[in-house]
Symmetry: C2
Subunit: 260 residues, 2 copies
Amino acid sequence: MRTNPATASAAETVDISKLSRMSGVTSRTLRHYDAIGLLPPSDTTPDGRRRYGRDEVLRLQHILVLRELGTPLGDIATIVEADDPAVTIATLRDHLGALTAERDRFARLAATVATTIDSLERGTTMTNEQLLDGFEHRKYEPEARERWGDDAVDRSNARWKALGTEGQQRHLDAHREVVEALGAAIRVGFAPDSDEVQEIVTKHHAWLSLFWTPTAETYRGITQMYVDDERFRRNYDEVAPGAAALLRDAADIWASRHLS
Amino acid sequence: MRTNPATASAAETVDISKLSRMSGVTSRTLRHYDAIGLLPPSDTTPDGRRRYGRDEVLRLQHILVLRELGTPLGDIATIVEADDPAVTIATLRDHLGALTAERDRFARLAATVATTIDSLERGTTMTNEQLLDGFEHRKYEPEARERWGDDAVDRSNARWKALGTEGQQRHLDAHREVVEALGAAIRVGFAPDSDEVQEIVTKHHAWLSLFWTPTAETYRGITQMYVDDERFRRNYDEVAPGAAALLRDAADIWASRHLS
DNA sequence: GTTGCGCTTGACGCTGCGTCAACTTCTACG
DNA sequence: CGTAGAAGTTGACGCAGCGTCAAGCGCAAC
């Protein structure tokens, strides 16, 4: 046909770099697959070079299809060894749960990180007009210094300034998400110790933690202040009456569980 | 202030198991964080036991918030060392790209695996009424034997039988997805070598590979047959005229790129 | 002869800890 | 007061899937 008999065996096999180029995997990967017994070469030349025949190419195709699905190499070995659809099915089913869990996990992480970044970074193109709205900062500095000491206030201030005026605005927006969630929780009637509300507190604490890490004591203190201080309370209760109190109660429980 | 001088250092510090319980991470993890310099204890007792003070608890809170976001420990170290919002933002931005990519990857994998499993496994509750529709199998066995040899046909048959009649039906359904995608590609006017169509071929090949691994030669052969043989062609062209030809042309290109 | 490409076999690195193993120290109990 | 048990300590290996040197060999072109 296209190969003469004398060179047939050579023509029918490919070397590692050819197979690498054909398949798109590195030669290192092919050696690895040899090392773990997943894909031994069909033959080796006298000087030790790997030669892969047609069967090996097919086997590699099969391996790569499964690898594309995220199947661990050990499972792939099971499947291609067994060469049995029932085994394939069972193995894939096991694997699907892990895949969807990972997908959901990364989706949540990406959403959270995006929100966080957004609140920190997007603001650099905005005006500082509305800095007086929402969760203002410098306004309450004197009280804060009394409550939590100069050190904490100074560090918090430094971070705050580093944000730029617009970044600060975005930070306020992120906070608003928490407030909205609190309002929704009130309307639905969730209790402070419900999973839903505790989840909101987790977000509130995480949000706060990116700039200033509260202790159990100071976290309880600041949420209590949200209730006591009219200027803060408005920011919460304007969404739903009792939001500040709900946050305080929930934060108290949350702090016991996570900060003490 | 609130602690007497004599017991201040002891009262203000916690041991590793206490911190472990407080934070929810294992003591091994805390030792690891010490080992890599991420969270050294504030002090060690004369007999070498780790003691963590208030600052370390706060630092751990910060670390865990970031770890929840999936941030690598190295990046976390950068952030908590710098203690600078600008660094936090830049690091998180870098990380977001990786997170969304991972999310998308797992989403695609999960969808593909789900479809695959579905086509293989869900069918065990169905009738075999419609076995004559779609992509039938045994019907073309004589030709297949001629074209690709008895071995391949026997192995393929074995796998096919192992599916059960209903599993077979589901396999046909999975194939229909490919056909629909081909029809859509035709209506939009994609070329055989376009990324979109090549992607469809990738799926078609993967679908085929789970039961029978084609070579470049046989893959070209079978897609050519989809065009030549009226009984096969109908399955493709009923969705959109020219679908079988498009698949053949695209598969030819695909085979050159991936199978030769 | 020598240069250089492409192959070979080790062997370590990476991520984030889990999991022994061997040992010390503190506390409780009889 | 001796001893067992709980809890701490420091190594050190294991894991998944290769990437990445490092050192060396064979073969072909100049």
